[in-house]
Amino acid sequence: MSEKPQNSASCATCSFAPAHVWTDMPPEFMATLAERKTIRKLKRGTYLFHQGDACDAVYRLLSGVLLLRKGDHDGNSLVVRMVRPGSTLGYRALVRAEPHSVSAHCATDVVVCHIPARAARWAFEQNRALERDFAAGMVREIDRMEDQALNMLTLCVRDRVLVLLHQMAEHFGHAEGEALRIATPISKSDMAAMLGIARESMSRCIRLIEEQGLLEFHSDGVFAPSRERFMETVTAILGEIQPPLPNNSAAR
């Protein structure tokens, strides 16, 4: 599964944790935390943890993208969220002393900071600001889900697909001149489930979007012949609540 754990760099230099988290923390605390946490690298396609696993650690995603999948007793599985660098994982389960409620699947090669549960509890007890930072990450996750549920309720199928692809473009978009290629990390079926639409509706929607010349769907991803037109269309859907757009410097 994961490669051999490596000793982590100092927490004080972690660009993802806000600097104020470490203010006034004694050197002994920093040294002990650095000693207990490790950096782990996982290959694309592997799992960081599975739904139902006991929570034995909390994580901060340092690079790569994880997909959180939730399943039910009927075998339905849904990607509830794409996790991007800087996000924290496992905190909900730690606080509730419950098993993980989702599985964390590596959509790309991934690097995480792994803090064993016992060390995390100790660190949070010593450093409330650090725990607040993890809790704030959880709060933002709840809000994203609420927003996603609202989009499912109020946007038409076409607009939901375009907004999702726009979100994916932030991390999986490659600028190719005037065009944009999005190496989507999930299947069309997963996308349909994530958007709360039937696969048949998804197929119809894909045909519609292709007929409009906005996007072309391929087995390995999605191609926008005109990046500008795609962005303008999504901007019109999102109105004022537009998240950051991928630009050429961010596109890989």
Partner: protein
């Protein structure tokens, strides 16, 4: 704001409610203000984008939380009942509200100003732990709701909302029949079930045709609890306890 509250009439409070109320009472004892007050149906606790000035605990009644969609429509995302906390997540995550909260019924609210909250939580880590655990529970609920919207029919989702409403809004419960008095409009009920008002109307007709529930302007009658429970089991809900049902048995 309305009259002061009678603490004895509240009955058993959850551990979190008790601890929150105790903290608010010690805080307000200095100022002589009541720790909790009754708010009339329709009163606002806060508006979207407003700075978070207080965290609220609902001791009685219910509050509907709404968010604006991309089209600017204000839609219900949550119905917070007795024991629920409001404002804490916004305080943790943003410092300003990302939703608005309005009393769906006359509501008894206990309030701790954010100016005092940090000191209170630093002194009472158990209260902080319980507030964090409540926020963590909200994440589980949001994940579960996403799964339901993606995998269940509108009928199934309405059944779940009715089962959840049964927990706090049952006005009559004999051996067989439940009578619910939901405090919100059908538009809000539709949004909570993740469907449009038009879909809700069709769904209501379907449930009535099945004899599972009958809807009037202010009430929902579930004529047979056992049939209702069986309908939930058919969609795999009661079996795994995900709906947090209040139905008897």
């Amino acid at each position: 704001m309305a009259a002061q509250f009678d603490e004895a009439a509240l009955g058993d409070l959850s551990a979190l409610s008790r601890r929150f109320l105790d903290a608010a009472q010690s805080l307000h004892a200095r100022s002589g203000l009541p720790a909790a007050v009754w708010l009339r149906k329709g009163a606002w606790l806060y508006q979207s984008a407003a700075p978070v000035t207080a965290v609220f605990m609902i001791l009685d009644g219910s509050v509907v939380r709404r968010k604006a969609s991309l089209g600017g429509e204000s839609l219900a995302v949550d119905l917070v009942c007795r024991g629920g906390v409001l404002g804490y997540r916004a305080w943790l995550g943003y410092g300003c509200h990302r939703s608005c909260a309005q009393c769906a019924s006359d509501t008894l609210v206990c309030r701790i100003p954010t100016a005092d909250l940090d000191d209170i939580l630093a002194a009472d880590r158990e209260l902080e732990r319980e507030l964090l655990a409540a926020a963590a529970h909200d994440l589980s609920t949001a994940q579960q709701r996403m799964l339901h919207v993606a995998t269940l029919s509108v009928r199934g989702r309405l059944l779940i909302v009715l089962a959840q409403l049964a927990r706090d809004f049952t006005t009559m419960n004999d051996e067989q029949t439940l009578v619910l008095a939901p405090p919100m409009s059908r538009t809000d009920m539709a949004a909570l079930a993740g469907m449009t008002p038009e879909s809700l109307s069709r769904c209501i007709r379907a449930l009535e045709a099945e004899g599972l529930a009958h809807f009037s302007r202010h009430h929902v009658v579930i004529p047979s609890q056992s049939n209702f429970r069986a309908a939930l089991e058919d969609i795999g809900i009661a079996a795994d306890g995900q709906a947090d049902l209040a139905l008897a048995g």
